[in-house]
Symmetry: C2
Subunit: 374 residues, 2 copies
C-alpha cells in the first residue's frame, strides 16, 4: 500500500506508540489522584506538556490539551469572543478548515459580522482587504497557517502583528503546519494556536490550544481543575503522552521535510507536468507546505481518479477528509475561483517523513496509465 | 500495590488494550477517507458504536462519541437548552458531579434559574421537592444515576418518566453506574445519558452521549460530518474501539459485581464496624453501587489517612479525583449535612471486578493499625 494522504492523518511513529503503551496498561492512575501511583501519570502529563511547549517555543502553562484540533479551534474562538463581549466582528478567510467555518456560522447566527477574506487564484490573501476590515472593534481574527487542501501558506505573523497592534486577539489554526514547516510562538504573534497530534505522527483524539501569556481562556468543558481549570475532564493520559512524544520528533521530521520530502514533492510535480493531460497544480506559484500537491485535471472527476488509484493500492483524497465526501466541491478551490471544469478533478497528494521516491514513481505511473486509457 | 480507587478510574482490561493496538499501528487511516484502507477504521468505529448501543439498549445512531464524560454532560445540557430557547429553568441536584455543577454556574450566569434539589442525610432526593419544581417551563432536568463519592443511587427512571410526561428533556449522568449496575435506555426514560469509558475498564479520553430517538443535539464542536454531524473532529479511533471493547465486557463484569464484589464490599463494611474508631459509612442505608464504600472518621483527616495508606501501597481517595484535592470539603457530604467533625475524615474505597478479598483484608488491617497508633 502506498499512503499519500498525510494531510488527512499520519501513521503514528513507532516511538510514539511505545511511549503510550505503559499508559494503556499498568500506569492507569487518574493523574489527579492523591497517591504515589498517580504521580507517574501526573509526571507523564507534565513531561508531555514540556515537550509540546518546547515544540511551540512557549511556556508549559500555555499548553491546553484538548481532544483534537477541532476542539482547540472552537475553544480559541469561544475564548476570544467571551473576552470581548462588546464586540461583534470576526475576520477569517474563505479557505479555512470546516471547523472554523462552522464555528463562524454559529457566531453569525449570534449576531456577529463575519468577514471572510478573499483569496486570489494563487490562494493568497489580500493585505489591503484585511487592513481595511481590521479595527479595534474586531473581536478576533482567525487564519490558518497553511491550507489543508492546497498547502498554501499564509504569512501569519504579519497578520498577527497587525492584530496585536490593535489589541485584537489572533487565532492561528496551525494544524497542518506543525511537522511540515517551522512554527513557533512569537511576540507579537498569535494569541491562540490550534494544533492536532495525528497530523504529525501522534495519536488521533488529542490536540492542544496554545494560549499566549495573558491570553484569556474561557472553558467550554468545565468542572475540574485539569489543564489549569481551562479544560475539565479526566486527561487522555496515553494520548497526551503520545502527543508529547510526537512533538519531540518534529525537529528531526522537519529536517527530513527540507532534505527529502520537498525535493520529492517537486520531483512529483515535474513528473506530473510530463503526463499527457492538462494537469494544474493548485497554488504552485505560492509558498506552500513542502509535502503537499493539489492537482486537478479537467474531464477526470476526483472520485474516479481516487477509486482507480485505490485499486492500485494508492491512498489519495480529493481534499479534506473532514468534508462529507469527494463529490462535494471544495470550498477552497471555489474561493480560488478555479474554473468549473477543473474543480471536480482535484486530487491531493500529501507526503510524510516516511514517504519515498518509489511511491512517487508508482503513483505517477498509475496516474499516467489512467490518463492514457481515459 | 492495592488499587481501591476505581470510581476515579479503572485499569484497562487487557482485551481492551489488545483491541486498540492495531489502531495505534498499521490501521491508521482517517475513517472519513475515500479508499479501502480507511474502510477498516470506519468499520471498527461502526462496530464500537454497535457495542456501546448493545450495552445501552439503544440504536447505534443514538451513540455520539465524545472525549469523555465531562464533554458528554456539557453536550447534553447544551443540546437541551439550545432546543428550548424560551425557557430558563434547570433542575439538578446538589450532589452532581463537578462537570454538571460547573455547567450550571454558566447557565445561572446566562440567566437560568437553577434548582438544586436537596438530599437527605442518606443522600436521597425528595420526590415532593422535585414535583413541586418541575413544570412544562422547565428547560431540562439533569440527575446522576449514582453518586461518584458515596455510591448512592437515584431512582432515575421515576424522575425521567415524570419529566417525559411534561415533555421536559431529562439528562442522566450515568458515568459511575455503567459497569456497576444494569443501566439501559428505556422509554419513557432519559433523553440523554452521559457515559465515560475509563470508568468501566476502557481507555481515558473517550466517552459518549446517548441521545434517545428524536432527542435534539446541538453540536458544541462543529465542522465535520463525524458522529452524524453532532460532534466534529477526526475520531479517536483507537479510543473508540477501546470503549466498544470495554462495553462488550460489561455484562460479565456485572455478574462479578453481583456475585463477588458486592459481598466483598459488604464484608469490608462489617470489618470496618469492628475497628476501634467511630466510623460512619455514608449512605449505607440507601441503595448504593455495589463497589463503593464512603467512610468517614472524626479526628482522622482524610489527607493523613490517605497518605498513610499510600505508604502501605494502598490507593484510596477522599472522593472525586476531579476536585482540586483532598483538603477541600466534599460538596456531596456538605449537601448530606454530615456533621463537620466527620466531613474532613472521608475516605472512599471503590472496588472493581479485579478486586479480591486479600486486598480488603490488607486494607482494613492497615487502617486498623493507623487508628490504633492514633
Amino acid at each position: 500500500m502506498i499512503y499519500l494522504d498525510n494531510n488527512a492523518t499520519t501513521r503514528m511513529a513507532p516511538a510514539v506508540r511505545d511511549a503510550m503503551l505503559p499508559f494503556l496498561d499498568e500506569c492507569y492512575a487518574n493523574p489527579s489522584s492523591p497517591y504515589t501511583f498517580a504521580r507517574r501519570s501526573a509526571l507523564a502529563l507534565a513531561q508531555a506538556r514540556e515537550q509540546v511547549a518546547a515544540l511551540m517555543a512557549c511556556e508549559p502553562s500555555h499548553v491546553i490539551f484538548t481532544s483534537g484540533g477541532s476542539e482547540a479551534i472552537h475553544l480559541a474562538l469561544h475564548s476570544a469572543c467571551s473576552a470581548r463581549p462588546d464586540t461583534r466582528h470576526i475576520i477569517t478567510s474563505s479557505v479555512e478548515h470546516a471547523a472554523t467555518l462552522a464555528a463562524m456560522e454559529g457566531y453569525a447566527a449570534a449576531g456577529y459580522r463575519i468577514t471572510k477574506l478573499h483569496v486570489d487564484a494563487a490562494g493568497q490573501l489580500d493585505w489591503d482587504e484585511f487592513s481595511a476590515q481590521l479595527s479595534r472593534d474586531t473581536t478576533c481574527v482567525s487564519l490558518m497557517a497553511a491550507n489543508n487542501e492546497t498547502g498554501v501558506r499564509f504569512p501569519i505573523h504579519r497578520y498577527a502583528e497587525a492584530a496585536a497592534a490593535l489589541d485584537v486577539p489572533f487565532h492561528c489554526d496551525a494544524t497542518q503546519a506543525i511537522g511540515k514547516i517551522p512554527f513557533r510562538m512569537e511576540s507579537p504573534g498569535p494569541t491562540y494556536v490550534s494544533i492536532s497530534a495525528h497530523k504529525f505522527h501522534g495519536p488521533k483524539g488529542v490536540g492542544a490550544l496554545i494560549a499566549a501569556a495573558d491570553a484569556p481562556v474561557t472553558a467550554m468543558i468545565s468542572g475540574g481543575d485539569q489543564e489549569y481549570g481551562r479544560r475539565a475532564g479526566t486527561e487522555n493520559v496515553a494520548g497526551i503522552v503520545g502527543m508529547g512524544s510526537a512533538a519531540s520528533l518534529v525537529p528531526s521530521g522537519l529536517e527530513t521535510m527540507v532534505q527529502t520530502i520537498r525535493p520529492l514533492r517537486d520531483e512529483l510535480e515535474k513528473q506530473l507536468a510530463q503526463l499527457p493531460a492538462e494537469i494544474r497544480i493548485i497554488g504552485q506559484e505560492s509558498e506552500r507546505l513542502p509535502n503537499t500537491t493539489m492537482l486537478t485535471m479537467a474531464d477526470h472527476p476526483s472520485e474516479v481518479t481516487i477509486a482507480r488509484l485505490d485499486m492500485d493500492n494508492i491512498c489519495v483524497s480529493a481534499g479534506s477528509a473532514c468534508a462529507s465526501g469527494a463529490t462535494e466541491a471544495s470550498h477552497v478551490l471555489r474561493a480560488m475561483q478555479i474554473p468549473e471544469e477543473y474543480i471536480f478533478g482535484a486530487v491531493r497528494i500529501s507526503l510524510s517523513r516516511y514517504s519515498n521516491s518509489n511511491e512517487i514513481y508508482t503513483f505517477t505511473e498509475c496516474l499516467g496509465a489512467q490518463i492514457r486509457v481515459g
